[in-house]
Symmetry: C2
């Protein structure tokens, strides 16, 4: 099996951007392999009575999050642009991740999507943005059709069910065996844990 | 004025325990002075529609928090005991902090309360626990009467109003000038920021 870390991410999640941009290098440095696990927070938030991002429902928390993201991106030398609409619809992008087979292309596509969204403030539900991200990961544009493939749709629903079964309630989340770590602030701890067991 | 960091804490907050136990040493190492700012999250949560801790309202988040606390306390060599009741009523303890004048005694009392609550799982609304904490901070037991002093009661209400005016929505929070940092995970960043300006 080897040393593995499951990275559970939601494309609408700001803090998942931070983790997506560094997890591969940080994990590789400790000999840990990343498993990319896209999922949707919408159905999980809905069960908590939320029909929107908690950062919109609770305005003070939202104002803080944007400022915190700005500070962290500056600190890490990451581009940051607050998208006009938040949260964005990452449904198609999440499905496409499941359609990609090679881990390095999966990783490249995920980073391209997050960079478009939070690095450039673009709309990731837009087909042309998805197409550019596909190309930047050296994937054929025809793969975009996979976003409406019934098997892929089912696979994403299954991802949400798996996330729930692991008690995941937010993103990014990291799972090492049954040990759950939540938030970009726990990424290093999660990798260290994965490297030890 | 010098380099200062305001530490906004709520005695019911688990993560505030982590910060309370290390903030003085960490701040002093960078020449930063800590201002102890007790407040109550209850009125702030009530405005968000919560009548309980979010860790009780959202069970998956709660289960995660207890496990996270357990891991962090182990890592830091801090005792940890989950209290039978959560959240606890820290009203009297918060008032007493405001009644104490000397900063080092304030700090000692705050640490004693958090240690009793999350290090030993004791009930911090209990007068005998409060009395022990007073004694451990070299304060006279008669000071317990201050918990019902009208001026002190007003001062705590004022603290909550100040917290709101600074857009504080959770604990622990750290304020350096008007820059807000939330969570024990941001304590080091807040201290570094205070040391630079």
């Amino acid at each position: 099996m080897g040393r593995q870390i499951q990275f559970w991410f939601e494309f609408a999640s700001t803090y998942s951007y931070l983790s997506a941009m560094r997890i591969e290098r940080a994990a590789a440095a400790k000999g840990v392999v990343v498993e990319w696990q896209p999922f949707l927070l919408g159905p999980i938030f809905a069960e908590q009575g939320w029909d929107n991002s908690p950062f919109n429902i609770y305005p003070a928390k939202g104002r803080y999050m944007w400022r915190d993201m700005e500070r962290l991106c500056t600190e890490r030398g990451l581009p940051f642009a607050r998208p006009a609409r938040f949260p964005q619809n990452g449904l198609k992008a999440a499905r496409l991740v499941l359609a990609i087979e090679a881990p390095d292309q999966k990783a490249a596509f995920v980073r391209a999507i997050y960079s478009a969204e939070f690095g450039s403030g673009r709309d990731i539900s837009d087909e042309s943005v998805l197409a550019e991200c596909m190309q930047s990961a050296n994937l054929p544009i025809e793969m975009l059709d996979k976003a409406s493939d019934p098997n892929i749709k089912s696979a994403l629903i299954e991802q949400v069910a798996m996330a729930k079964s692991h008690d995941i309630f937010g993103a990014p989340s990291f799972l090492v065996g049954e040990e759950l770590f939540w938030g970009d602030d726990r990424l290093d701890a999660a990798i260290s844990y994965a490297a030890q067991i």
